[in-house]
Symmetry: C2
Subunit: 318 residues, 2 copies
């Protein structure tokens, strides 16, 4: 049995939104307010939708796992609240964030409270190994972010090193979202492994697409300035691919930019495009999207499987 | 059977230190380094010692629960790492912290990673309800810290309001340390409740003593400047008690100090002492220490019970 109707994915998404709007609340009003603000700022709720699709793919009723799905989004929200904590250096460079309104101290506490609140609920309501999967995932996310901090401005970062960071900081939560949905839906071990593998490949492609949008979109589309990653000295996949194809002049120019910020970020982005950074990134996204689709092989055919494949394909239309 | 010998408490403390020095390690070298630095800075390891005494009070072998005990200290360390995150305002007031060396971003990530690492280990190695007790405790700690932030400079904070904050931000972890030790040691429900109640009363008295030391000790003894709580506009129990006994002039003076920082902190501390703030705080500590001792009533007599009572009594000698 595969209970998910194609139109139901839209209905499930609406249920997630409705849950956040009307049911979600913590015992701490400041935290509840901060979370609702963050949720209202946008987002496609991909993580909870992935959880619900995994539940459906296992043949169970996704509407019974709305809370579990919501926790996946809330882990993401908690990491976003903590991402907003700024350093002194950042304030000098004029970075703006939630922390500006609430203060760093409150941002740290609100994120901590949210993590604790999620684990409190998950340990009370879900069997092993779900609480363990979620805490291990949070460790991976933090580990990935520390690796990313250490790799800032490092033009020797390899594609493999980049993928390892993306796998930990981004894909691990997509993998956990699918894995936990599969477990809660009573999937077989083979199905659980397949859905987790789908989530991981999807998550890596998702991060690559995010890097690509940073080079091409405007502030209105992605909600942050173009080339924001470059300004933050992140070595993203378009940079790695442009360096691979490019010449020593490009390398020297990027090196100076990361060190001194001596050029307009739009000019740097244009050079990366010119050296094939976007084309190669599109190809990498296609590889991981294909890997995600292939991972679905052991999943029984039906609308949930189709919806998951469509999720992956949507990453290609950037 | 009560396996703890009186001298063994010293040996257990040494085992905790040894565990941190030689065995403790996470997969993230930056986090391991930050934790070891924080542990090397001092501390009496009261939380893990409480866990091990609770194990012994239940009649089990405490040396088999060293890891569980260590997690209690590490939760404390993770909150300290996050306490070091500074606001812009703080940097203007010249506050110094670990975050100065590592940066706010790294402090946030290191604390997050440590929380996640602890929960990952606890969910893998300990049965219900231990993982739930620990995540609920972390929620309490954050909730208490948010309440404390909201109460900064509020001269209308009552003793009840103060105790509620202390119970959440400080005593909850002492209570959880004792509770989890009791559970892991196979204590009866009555013993578990008694040891948790001991931890809570002990923790409240501990916080009151900490407040008192802030008024009386010098930088060398407590590792931070005298009157640090006053500078941070915390309304601690000596302040509440002095206001209760004091006159409207004291209230106006404190109000001005919290608003404008217009007086030397040592002069303000002296006024609080003069209005009986310390005497009344000593009395409150004695009340909660007595409550902690009374909570031990259901525990079978023996060296572990005696060691716990001695722990409580040690808070009286400030």
């Amino acid at each position: 049995m595969n209970v998910l109707d194609v139109k139901e994915e839209v209905a499930l998404h609406a249920m997630v939104e409705d849950f956040f709007r009307s049911t979600f609340s913590t015992d701490n009003p400041i935290v509840t307010e901060a979370v609702k603000r963050m949720l209202a700022a946008g987002g496609k709720r991909l993580r909870p939708r992935l959880t619900l699709l995994a539940v459906a793919a296992a043949g169970a009723d996704p509407s019974r796992q709305l809370h579990l799905a919501a926790y996946m989004e809330l882990i993401h929200v908690a990491t976003l609240i903590h991402d907003d904590v700024v350093d002194r250096a950042d304030t000098r460079r004029g970075v703006n964030a939630t922390a500006v309104d609430y203060g760093n101290r409150v941002s740290v506490l609100a994120g901590d409270y949210l993590f604790a609140w999620i684990f409190k609920n998950v340990t009370a309501g879900y069997p092993a190994p779900i609480p363990h999967v979620l805490s291990a995932t949070l460790a991976d996310i933090c580990d990935g972010e520390v690796l990313q901090l250490r790799a800032l401005g490092n033009l020797d970062l390899t594609l493999e090193g980049y993928v390892e960071i993306a796998r930990k900081k981004t894909a691990s939560l997509f993998a956990a979202s699918a894995r936990c949905g599969a477990i809660a839906g009573g999937a077989t071990p083979a199905e659980i492994a397949a859905l987790a593998a789908f989530g991981e490949a999807f998550g890596i492609a998702f991060q690559m697409r995010d890097d690509l949008l940073d080079m091409t979109s405007d502030r209105d589309t992605v909600g942050k300035p173009v080339g924001n990653d470059l300004t933050e000295r992140k070595v993203t996949i378009p940079v790695i691919e442009a360096l691979r194809a490019g010449n020593s002049a490009l390398r020297a120019r990027l090196d100076r930019f990361y060190r001194d910020g001596d050029a307009a970020v739009a000019a740097i982005a244009a050079e990366i495009v010119q050296h094939g950074g976007l084309t190669a990134t599109h190809a990498a996204i296609a590889r991981y999207t294909e890997r995600a689709r292939a991972a679905l092989e052991p999943i029984r055919g039906g609308p949930a499987k189709e919806a998951l494949a469509a999720f992956a394909d949507a990453l290609l239309s950037a």
